[in-house]
């Protein structure tokens, strides 16, 4: 526009001089007028042509910009997409560098360690505005696995098909993404629900998210585990599959400012029935909140030609996971209870097979508070300020607290030497209290410090396993 104006002004400024020059040479006034008129017309044409050429250039530039791929590189997002936004590929990732320390004699000295808890680059994207994919490997904890690899088709908000390896929708905290976790490690109820599994799921939201459902069928994994933990990673080795379902309601999510707007509750469940075999026990072990192994079923101790006497999954497994969260302003609460009814068997002798149904359960209540005033939510938040040396701003600060418990069925320990679990090495209950602080100096950076004190029942040769005091810290990048 400036060029156009400058050109116009320059041309108009020259007109009187051009006209004057002709006037001096012209033989008559009429001729002078004709010449002037023609010259002015010619100048007008030249000016109009210049303006039009600039206009065409502008149009071409706009057209090129409108069809050009869109590249986004911001503090939180790296993405390449088509001009219409219907197709894009996004690059994301998490890196968790942890330190684990244990106070006193609550854990062996070797448990104190630095570790890369999670190293997960992610490529995800959408094609045609409908078809999504995500591929996430994990190189953390000294192994290389595929965490997520799935494709999804969002035919309608209420009709989404997902297939591949992903989180079956059961446990509430399990469904939270890693960057959104309040504590560095998920709570005890998550030990009882599947982590990642291979399968297919139908899901959808209705009424603007007020009601959502997920129904799926998966290969099936033991409590808290992923399909990459199977004897043959990501390959099913048993005869049963997990049927998974979950409904979740947020009845007031569409209200403007109602105090219960942030309330959500629901229930998840899985069911499996399989023909067990002692050679493939297909049973879980459980960890303390400090991530140390505290419970497992009896392994095979038979020698020679004696039959395998490991405890194994044999029959039905039913998980139920009622769950709730509530977020209002800077405060948040997440509570869940998970119960697993598991049919188990153990061959005591060639002629005696002991079978039972064990019920293990866990619950937790966790509280969070942004002392810097940011809004708590189940998914995502934006720091009110960032922190940089020498500049104003503190970043976001969050205090968290949690109480939780895991209870293993007493029946697992009955029967002395014929029990399904050894009471001298496996705990029957753990109760944990935890507090923590999270600092988000930047949108994609999080520093965490957690303290968890856990007490146990059983799990020791005499009395109870010693209390555990775990002090975990983390430097996390989530982009």
């Amino acid at each position: 526009m400036n060029i156009r104006r400058a050109t116009a002004l320059a041309s108009l400024a020259l007109l009187p001089f051009a006209g004057a020059a002709h006037a001096q040479d012209a033989p008559s006034q009429a001729g002078v007028n004709d010449d002037l008129r023609q010259e002015i017309e010619a100048q007008k044409q030249r000016l109009a042509v210049l303006e039009r050429k600039l206009e065409i250039q502008d149009e071409a530039a706009k057209a090129a910009a409108a069809s050009a791929p869109r590249i986004t590189a911001s503090a939180t997002r790296f993405q390449i997409g088509s001009a219409d936004g219907a197709n894009f590929i996004r690059f994301r990732g998490t890196l968790f560098a942890d330190n684990r320390a244990y106070a006193g004699d609550s854990a062996p000295e070797t448990a104190d360690t630095f570790l890369l808890r999670s190293v997960r680059p992610t490529i995800e994207g959408t094609f045609g505005g409908i078809y999504d994919f995500r591929i996430t490997p994990d190189f953390g904890s000294g192994r290389s696995i595929i965490v997520d690899a799935y494709a999804a088709a969002r035919f309608k908000p209420g009709f989404v098909v997902t297939a591949g390896k992903f989180k079956p929708s059961v446990g509430l905290e399990r469904l939270a993404s890693e960057p959104d976790l309040k504590f560095m490690e998920r709570g005890l109820p998550t030990l009882l629900v599947p982590n990642r599994d291979l399968g297919v799921q139908l899901s959808g939201d209705f009424a603007g998210g007020a009601f959502s459902y997920q129904v799926g069928y998966f290969n099936g994994v033991t409590d808290g585990q992923s399909s990459d933990n199977l004897a043959s990673p990501d390959v099913e080795s048993d005869t049963g599959g997990d049927y998974a379902a979950r409904v979740f309601l947020q009845p007031f999510i569409n209200s403007d400012n109602f105090s219960l707007r942030g309330l959500g509750f629901g229930v998840g469940a899985t069911w499996q029935d399989l023909d067990g075999a002692a050679a493939n026990p297909y049973l879980p072990s459980y960890r303390s909140q400090g991530q140390l192994s505290v419970f497992s079923y009896r392994a095979n101790t038979a020698t020679g030609t004696a039959p395998n006497n490991a405890t194994y999954s044999d029959g039905e497994r039913l998980r139920l996971a009622p769950q709730v969260y509530y977020y209002r302003g800077s405060f948040g609460f997440l509570g869940e209870y998970t119960q697993v009814k598991q049919d188990v068997s153990r061959r005591i002798s060639p002629t005696v097979l002991r079978s039972d149904t064990l019920t293990n359960s866990a619950w937790q209540g966790q509280f969070s508070w942004f002392i810097t005033g940011e809004e708590e939510a189940f998914r995502g938040f934006t720091p009110g300020s960032t922190w940089q040396p020498g500049k104003p701003g503190t970043g976001a600060w969050e205090l968290v607290a949690r109480i939780q418990e895991l209870d293993v069925d007493d029946a697992a320990f009955e029967g002395g030497a014929t029990s399904f679990a050894n009471p001298l090495t496996a705990i029957t209950k753990e109760t944990s209290y935890g507090v923590g602080v999270n600092w988000y100096p930047w949108n994609t950076v999080k520093l965490s410090l957690n303290y968890d004190k856990t007490s146990f029942e059983g799990g020791a040769a005499t009395g109870d396993r010693a209390d555990e005091q775990a002090i975990f810290s983390r430097f996390a990048i989530n982009y």
Partner: protein
């Protein structure tokens, strides 16, 4: 019932649910959306036509069909489709641009012209001159366009289908002059482009340049575009001059197979193009100053379409040859315009 049977049955049920759901969606889809990627001057034609077709389709099937329009220089539009613009149908200025989509984009078969009558050109047009009121520069025929001081407005043949028809019509006139040959035609066209001050990307842009910006003395124009300009501005602003010779311009239409296959819109897309050949479709074309193929409709509107000598693309060996020879990279146009 054992586990294996359960698992198989559930998988089958879920698979069935997915497909039944998908099919159900298709079966219940009451609103269908098509994208018609067209060339510059057809905006008004397809506004009228789309309305008529939507009513026809609603009456025939009960479904609502919404047709989105995209317009621009024909060559540029073809490029956009090749690059991924999801056109269910293309209605472009000339067969060469549809050929490019078939050849370079592989989005429809090479024999696309055979799928509809009149080699998939349901209406025609030609090239005329649009001059200012009173024709102050006394422009009567092609030969007047190369006189000194004449400003000729025509778009860029590299991006505009209409511009290629303009170019070929000028070439044809020169070749038919006494002593005319391809060599004299080349010199004539070269001289003509020396009088072109601005190359727009499309025909509508050229009309804007001539009519609204007041640039030039004559615009080489689609016949329909010239009529439309005169209708909108009035005969006291612009006049139409019919040259002694022009060219039969045959805009081409085609379904873009790969897009309709992906979107599940083949049936309605095919019916959309077939509707152009119906008496209703032909009448709409004629009302928008396109020459209808249907003899009865053409006779009804004969006063709009004066008879003149028309060469055809066959006189240039067909579009494949003409495109490569004249408008391809390094072709005659590049050579004469660069000089």
């Amino acid at each position: 019932m054992d586990q294996t049977n359960w698992k198989r049955r559930l998988l089958l049920a879920m698979t069935a649910a997915v497909f039944v759901g998908g099919v159900g969606q298709a079966a219940h889809a009451k609103e269908i959306t098509l994208l018609n990627v067209s060339y510059d001057p057809t905006r008004e034609l397809y506004v009228d036509f789309n309305k008529s077709f939507a009513e026809y389709w609603k009456k025939k099937t009960g479904d609502d069909v919404k047709i989105n329009q995209s317009h621009g220089g024909s060559g540029r539009q073809a490029r956009s489709v090749i690059d991924g613009l999801a056109a269910d149908v293309v209605t472009l200025a000339l067969a060469a641009d549809v050929d490019a989509i078939a050849t370079n984009g592989k989005l429809l078969p090479l024999n696309w012209e055979e799928r509809l009558p009149d080699h998939s050109a349901p209406y025609t047009s030609t090239i005329v001159f649009l001059v200012r009121k009173g024709n102050p520069k006394h422009i009567k025929d092609w030969g007047d366009l190369v006189k000194p001081g004449i400003g000729v407005i025509t778009p860029n043949p590299k991006t505009s289908g209409g511009a290629r028809w303009n170019y070929l019509a000028a070439w044809a006139w020169a070749r038919k002059q006494p002593g005319g040959s391809d060599a004299t035609a080349r010199e004539f066209v070269k001289a003509l482009y020396k009088n072109v001050p601005v190359l727009d990307t499309g025909a509508r842009g050229s009309t804007t340049t001539f009519v609204q910006r007041g640039i030039g003395d004559v615009a080489l124009s689609w016949e329909n575009e010239a009529w439309l300009a005169q209708k909108e501005l009035g005969p006291d602003k612009v006049e139409i001059v019919i040259p002694s010779i022009s060219i039969l311009a045959e805009p081409s239409v085609a379904v873009v197979d790969k897009v309709v296959l992906r979107k599940g819109t083949r049936t309605v897309a095919e019916e959309y193009l077939k509707y152009l050949y119906t008496p209703e479709g032909q009448e709409i074309a004629a009302r928008n100053y396109y020459r209808p193929r249907n003899p009865q409709v053409a006779a009804k509107h004969q006063e709009l379409f004066p008879k003149l000598e028309l060469v055809t693309i066959k006189d240039f060996g067909g579009w494949t040859k003409a495109q490569k020879e004249h408008f391809g990279d390094g072709g005659v146009f590049d050579q004469i315009y660069a000089q």
